[in-house]
């Protein structure tokens, strides 16, 4: 019922003594179920004319919940009716006042009745845009329609201080239809159009630049459980949602979802969602999200499809790879994957890849034309085998030919299920055993057993850009295991190469899979055929045998730090010992000695090859310096080559200490120069 607090003052006024022009009535305050009109004055004007005009002025109109922040002041209604329990203003002007917003005068009308009231405001000025409001109340029910057009977001910012968002530019248009009962919203539909919006949160973790986005959200409140549907299209600009950075190119990005949400249970159920980013990514599925103390993905079943893995990896994987060992990796090809997540952890994955490629800016790995299906589960007894085949695989500079792996991947482990032969540099690598077990915050555990068969050293040296070598390499690698940061050998690695053999023992490594691996080993070298070793060597040809050792080799990041090495003619070697002039000169220059000068000036330069008795060079590397030693001590140095037969030659090194880097430089120079000029 409309309650009228009557402080009625009837004022009759006349401009002239003869006629009555105006009649005005001060009503005071009228209140009706949350509506409150204060300072009401009703005037009947132009009494002389017919029909007379009834006008209403109200100082302030307060609205019921949930619009109680909004007041209309200086209301002037030029067309007004007041009947029993009914107030009607069909044409009025009013100023809007709220805590945050003051609008210049806008068109205004209202109709207040016992059980049905309406209010309409049009042409409201808000932040350089226009807003119209249409509200209706019927019994306990109400509904409102707000239509805002091209509201300037930067000006809006000023109305909402302090804000968690910083709006810098762009226009917002939206239509909101909402209905409810008392202070309760029962349903709403929001359609918004963001145009060139530049916004970011104070912490910078969410930001948009010149964002164009269309969105529609519909929601119905069913006793505290909201059923909702949403459709969003990101058409232009750039978006940063940590850690992702997305730019809307020609093809838009869209998200459609529907589900329910209960604030009481702090839980949102996404019954179906579909996210599509052009050809890069189509992700669909369902999920349950809880947000009690932190946001938890309680359960999710998702399907992913990508026709452009390259784009997918650049946009959605690269952000996670930054500053990790995976930095620099990109993928290409297509993928279809299904995966499940429970309590923020991946529990199952099935992924089929086609034309799959891996590229790495650091050139650690390269895969081309990969195809396969990978099944994985966090279940320790999961046993569905996976396959992966490739046309091309390259590890660092070493290419591995087409092959196929049959393996089992479950929890944090990987195990090869069958013996595999990988074509490798003209020969093959046979893998009898291969297993991997990832460890939390530790290096993984790995085991391997296999063999190398007839691998071409020529191709090997070419791939690694080494001085060309010839011959093949074969060898048996017993079980090698890497666990507790230690590489251990179940036996010796025996490699047959250059007609001799190399035995590797005491193999150890730590941080093998970090960017700073440390590596330890001992090696024994027996009866390598120098002719084969130096056959294609720019170093120059030598015949004879070579034996020796490398002890206590310690490498950091694959660079030797310390070792004690000796390579020389074995004592019992009865093979033919000849050395070419070029080799003599090069060996002499290793020690930085002057033997080559002597050679070039002497008559010996007329001989192509020389006989020798022994050849040998040792190095004890420590603190970056190589302490050199030869076959025999000489008064001022050491003999690297001792003569035998005619013409007899002896190369003596005079410089016992050479900087390791200098030594490497010298070796590089030797292997880089094709010709030896002998004057």
């Amino acid at each position: 019922m409309i309650r009228t607090i009557l402080a009625v003052v009837l004022v009759l006024s006349s401009l002239t003594a003869t006629a009555l022009d105006d009649v005005s009535l001060n009503v005071g305050t009228i209140e009706s179920r949350g509506w409150k009109l204060e300072g009401i004055q009703i005037a009947l004007t132009d009494l002389a004319n017919n029909p007379q005009k009834l006008t209403l002025t109200i100082n302030k109109l307060s609205l019921p919940l949930p619009f109680n922040d909004l007041n209309l002041i200086n209301i002037h209604c030029s067309s007004f009716t007041w009947q029993n329990n009914e107030l009607l203003c069909t044409q009025g002007r009013a100023h809007v006042r709220s805590k945050r917003w003051q609008s210049p005068a806008a068109n205004f009308s209202f109709h207040i009745r016992e059980k049905h009231s309406t209010l309409k405001l049009t042409d409201l000025q808000l932040a350089d845009g226009t807003v119209s409001i249409d509200a209706e109340e019927r019994g306990k029910q109400w509904q409102v329609q707000i239509n805002a057009k091209a509201v300037d977001s930067a000006l809006i910012q000023k109305l909402f201080q302090p804000a968690i968002f910083e709006l810098k530019g762009g226009r917002i248009s939206f239509k909101l239809n909402a209905s409810g009962s008392h202070a309760l919203i029962e349903d709403f539909t929001l359609t918004a159009e963001l145009n060139g919006l530049t916004v970011q949160t104070k912490d910078g973790r969410f930001a948009a630049e010149a964002l164009s986005l269309d969105t529609r959200v519909e929601a119905q409140n069913n006793k505290g459980l909201w059923q909702w549907q949403s459709h969003s299209r990101f058409n232009g600009g750039a978006l940063y949602i940590e850690p992702f950075y997305l730019e809307a190119d020609r093809q838009s990005i869209g998200l459609d979802a529907q589900g329910n949400w209960s604030d009481k249970n702090k839980r949102a159920e996404i019954k179906s969602a579909s996210y599509k980013h052009a050809t890069a990514l189509a992700l669909s599925g369902s999920a349950i999200v809880k947000y009690e103390k932190k946001v938890t993905l309680e359960k999710a079943d998702l399907t992913l499809h990508s026709d452009d893995l390259q784009k997918l990896s650049a946009l959605y994987l690269k952000p996670f790879f930054e500053q990790t060992a995976l930095e620099g990796l990109t993928f290409a090809g297509t993928i279809n994957a299904d995966f499940s997540i429970i309590q923020d952890s991946l529990t199952a994955l099935t992924a089929t890849v086609n034309k799959f490629a891996i590229r790495d800016t650091a050139e650690r790995i390269r895969v081309e034309n990969g195809v396969g299906t990978i099944y994985w589960s966090n279940d320790e007894i999961f046993n569905r085998p996976s396959t992966f085949a490739w046309r091309q695989l390259q590890l660092y500079a070493l290419p591995i030919g087409p092959s196929r792996l049959l393996f089992l991947s479950r929890a944090s482990s990987f195990r090869l299920l069958e013996k595999t032969h990988l074509p490798f540099l003209g020969g093959e690598i046979a893998i009898n055993l291969l297993g991997w077990q990832a460890k939390k915050q530790q290096d993984p555990e790995i085991y391997f057993a296999g063999s190398l068969n007839n691998i071409s050293l020529e191709q090997w040296s070419k791939a690694l850009n080494w001085t060309p070598l010839s011959g093949t390499i074969s060898g048996n690698i017993p079980r090698v295991e890497y666990s507790n940061k230690t590489l251990s050998l179940g036996g010796e690695i025996n490699i047959k190469v250059f007609d001799g053999d190399i035995k590797i023992t005491q193999l150890a490594s730590s941080g093998l899979f970090t960017d700073f691996p440390k590596f330890y080993s001992d090696m024994e070298i027996n009866n390598l055929d120098l002719d084969q070793l130096t056959g294609k060597f720019k170093f120059g040809g030598i015949t004879g045998k070579l034996s020796g050792f490398v002890r206590q080799l310690y490498m950091e990041n694959w660079h030797p730090v310390t070792f004690f090495a000796w390579l020389g003619t074995p004592d019992d070697d009865d093979s033919r010992h000849r050395i070419s002039q070029k080799a003599v000169k090069n060996i002499a220059s290793i020690g930085g000695g002057g033997a080559s000068d002597i050679l070039s000036r002497s008559f010996l330069s007329i001989f192509e090859t020389f006989g020798y008795d022994k050849i040998g060079l040792g190095c004890y590397l420590h603190d970056g310096v190589c302490q050199l030693m030869g076959v025999e001590a000489r008064p001022q140095g050491y003999a690297i080559i001792t003569g035998g037969g005619l013409p007899r030659i002896e190369v003596i090194g005079y410089n016992p200490r050479v900087d390791w880097n200098v030594l490497m430089e010298r070796l590089k120079r030797i292997s880089a120069s094709d010709e030896v000029i002998i004057k």
Binding site: A207, Y240, Q323, T514, K518
Partner: protein, 195 residues
Amino acid sequence: MRKIPVLGALLLTACVTINIYFPAAAAEKAADEIIKDIQGITPQKTEPKPKASLTDWQMTAFKLLDSALNVVVSPAQAEEANLNIDSPAIRQLRATMESRFAALRPFYAAGFIGIQADGFLAVRDAASVPLKDRNQVNKLVAAENADRNSLYQAIANANGHPEWATQIKSTFAARWVSNAQAGWWYQSSGSWKQK
């Protein structure tokens, strides 16, 4: 009462104190060496020139005095303490930080990141970083800070004094600022300043 000679007292106290405390000067030197190396600055070696103002007899007298002192103060203790900055862990961290520096450098120069008073990096104003660089900047800063922390502990460990990590950290804090290049930002008395 018998008086203890002043010189004798000094010598006795000197014996006890030199090597107990954290070698601050050596730490500064080590910090400079590491930071310059990470930032690719080759230190210019300057040979200290001996002062020529001393006459021969004065030099001889000083040398004699020096030898006399060495009898009392063990030369090992009087020697300038050095900080060991060579261990596998330190080498590894230095190598990583050096390779990261190339990526950090443009962000230092652009003012997106700065050196805090504690020597760690901070994104000065996250909102000013271009959106496409934002994740990279955050990740770089986080990784660099983690490595700096590990480096301080690694140096402390390499010298057999794990408890020195805090002092090493504060020594480094000042040296990062000192070695900052012109135009870089650093924090001083709570506010950002540009070098």
